[in-house]
């Protein structure tokens, strides 16, 4: 197991290099970093432009440029953003923290309710409850997050205020403008709506996974064996049913991190939540290469990391799987 993890980690490094090279190419073709630098800083001297090119590895030779960028990135010699010459790392760090908070909240809420709904649906397949849960999950999957965000904002913020005097939940930011310091209840109030928007998708997806996975397990032979041994139904369900049904679900959960981040990007933008999504859309809109590349590295690395977690948890939960 330990050796497997080490080997996978060793493989992750070349993968990371290849993917970041592709991202580097795509960004250079797609956003033309030098042109956007000149657009944002029209009066920059030629020496300044050259300095920007050197620091970011924007050499006309792509391979050489990438290697320069890589060296600067690894040694921590990061170029400042092209707009306002801000330090990249503090901005990225804050964005990561905010997104991690929202993402964790939404994932925990989403998976919790999703699994419960899935179990309830699977216990009596074809019944009223099953049809209801299944159909709602289908509707939930079909609604894009920005639509549910708009409708929730309209209902809970704008119209709630008209009907009851005060809006139930605020619609933008982490804190009200001008607020400083840490205030948990206030923060939770600000996070409710974005969390719901992201969680809807997760609930819908996981209730379906859980349902079909549990149905597979419930129809298997060992469930019959367990029942025939006279174990209580509750114990059969929890020990034999749930545990085995969770194996594929856990794997999917870890592989799904890309789509959760995707939902976060959209949601953050609508709620002006200062996380990775808002960070990306802002810097992408300005073609801010120094801000974009580290962001991409973080995303690629987390996708790879969660892939690894998926494989490991798979083997850990199901002893029949050998990792060699």
């Amino acid at each position: 197991m330990f050796r497997y993890i080490l080997r996978r980690l060793a493989w992750a490094i070349p993968t990371l290099l290849i993917v970041t090279f592709l991202v580097y190419l795509a960004l250079r073709f797609g956003t033309d970093p030098v042109a956007s630098y000149k657009r944002i800083n029209p009066r920059a001297s030629r020496a300044k432009v050259q300095q920007y090119i050197d620091l970011n590895g924007l050499d006309p030779n792509f391979v050489k440029g990438y290697l320069t960028w890589l060296r600067n990135f690894v040694t921590g010699d990061w170029a400042p953003s092209i707009k306002g010459r801000r330090e990249v790392w503090p901005a990225l760090k804050d964005a990561m923290a905010n997104t991690l908070r929202l993402g964790t909240a939404a994932t925990v809420v989403g998976i919790f309710f999703g699994l419960i709904a899935g179990v309830f649906a699977a216990l009596r397949p074809g019944g009223k409850r099953d049809v209801f849960i299944n159909t709602s999950a289908f509707v939930g999957i079909s609604i894009p997050p920005f639509i549910s965000a708009i409708l929730l904002q309209l209902l809970f913020a704008v119209y709630w205020q008209r009907w009851f005097g005060a809006s139930l939940f605020p619609t933008s930011g982490v804190y009200p403008p001008g607020h400083s310091g840490f205030d948990l209840p206030l923060m939770i109030r600000y996070m409710v709506l974005p969390t719901i928007v992201v969680a809807i998708q997760i609930i819908a997806t996981y209730s379906r996974y859980m349902r079909s996975s549990l149905l597979d397990v419930l129809n298997s032979d060992y469930m019959r064996t367990a029942r025939s041994k006279g174990i209580s139904e509750r114990r059969v369900l929890l020990k034999h049913g749930m545990r085995n049904a969770l194996i594929p679900v856990v794997t999917i959960a870890a592989l799904d991190v890309g789509s959760i981040v995707g939902g976060l990007i959209i949601t953050e933008n609508i709620f002006s939540y200062p996380g990775m999504g808002l960070y990306f859309l802002k810097s992408f809109g300005e073609g801010d290469f120094p801000l974009l590349m580290p962001w991409m590295v973080v995303i690629v690395a987390s996708v790879l990391l969660f892939n690894l977690i998926a494989d490991i948890s798979y083997a850990w939960l199901d002893p029949r799987i050998r990792l060699e």
């Binding site: 073709f29 797609g30 397949p125 079909s142 981040v261 995303i299």
Partner: protein
């Protein structure tokens, strides 16, 4: 919902129905899908007959000023927007553009994806490996990020200009989703081909010396048609929602001469929320939800209908 799938198969056998008839029966037994077919049919009629069904031109105001942000009323059933245009008529024109985008790009991506998926699944080896790695990579990334980056790269390739047109044209969006959408399709078709190519009839074709192209075009693709149809419906939804997402974030097709799309209308809803012009948010959003839901239901029923082994316990 599909309570009697197993029962149907049994009675089908006794009735001696052809596989296609059985598939049709299974499809019809999915009630939500039948309703969805009706919804899509009515919507398509409305959209095709736009000159008759729309009450105003796409860029025409309902009355002389003051006419902006009128709530729903007799001369504007769904209210008006910021410059007094009828939302109902604009929805019809918008849905028309969105359906065209959805269908056209789905056709491109399904054609591309079926071919690539079939070849990858059939040949295996290096080509297969590379293709699937690329697909994995693209699908692992957050959707919007990939879409925006690919969009910019596509717009920066000079020799594609004659094909794609300007970056904010409808044609560009169609090509973008056509190129973007093949991966999901390729994956599905590849899986199907992988299982089909071990079957006896393909073996037989190989034994009589059929060429690779013949086997793919005569045996493998026709036998995957059910999966391809399913992929087609999901591609249509994907492209429609994708267009809305792009437009929502300001990267969608630009409305030349006031032309519109569902995405542009939904994007305008963003600004209408805080000011409380609920009709501008609610109607376009619900139109999008209904379209997405209907096509998804149809795709779901098609999947059940074309894959009899897939008895999901319901």
């Amino acid at each position: 919902m599909r309570g009697s799938t197993r029962g149907f198969v049994l009675s089908d056998l006794t009735l001696q129905l052809s596989p296609r008839q059985m598939a049709f029966r299974r499809f019809v037994s999915h009630k939500a899908a039948v309703v969805s077919c009706g919804v899509i049919l009515i919507l398509s009629l409305f959209v095709i007959l736009a000159p008759f069904t729309a009450r105003y031109g796409v860029n025409q105001s309902v009355q002389a000023p003051p006419n902006s942000f009128l709530s729903p009323r007799a001369n504007a059933w769904l209210g008006t927007d910021d410059i007094g245009r009828d939302l109902y008529s604009r929805l019809i024109f918008g849905i028309r553009v969105s359906l065209v985008i959805g269908l056209a790009s789905a056709l491109i991506s399904v054609t591309l994806g079926s071919l690539i998926g079939a070849i990858a699944g059939f040949r295996g080896g290096k080509f297969d490996d590379i293709m699937m790695r690329v697909t994995d990579l693209f699908l692992a990334f957050p959707f919007l990020v990939t879409l925006l980056v690919v969009r910019n790269v596509l717009g920066a390739v000079p020799w594609l200009k004659p094909l794609t047109g300007e970056m904010n044209s409808v044609r560009f969006i169609i090509v973008l989703f056509g190129i973007f959408g093949w991966m999901g399709v390729a994956r599905i078709v590849r899986g199907q081909v992988l299982s089909l190519k071990e079957r006896e009839f393909v073996e037989a074709a190989r034994a009589v010396g059929a060429s690779r192209r013949y086997m793919i075009s005569r045996h493998l693709l026709p036998n995957s048609i059910g999966q391809i149809m399913v992929a087609l419906t999901f591609s249509v939804v994907g492209a429609i929602i994708g267009e809305s997402t792009l437009a929502f974030f300001g990267y969608g097709p630009q409305a030349g001469d006031g032309a519109t799309s569902l995405g542009i209308l939904v994007g305008a809803a963003k600004g209408a929320v805080q000011t409380g012009f609920w009709w501008l948010a609610v109607f376009p959003c619900f139109a999008l939800i209904i379209i997405a839901l209907s096509i998804n239901f149809i795709g779901d029923a098609l999947r059940d209908a074309t894959d009899p082994r897939l008895d999901r316990g319901a």
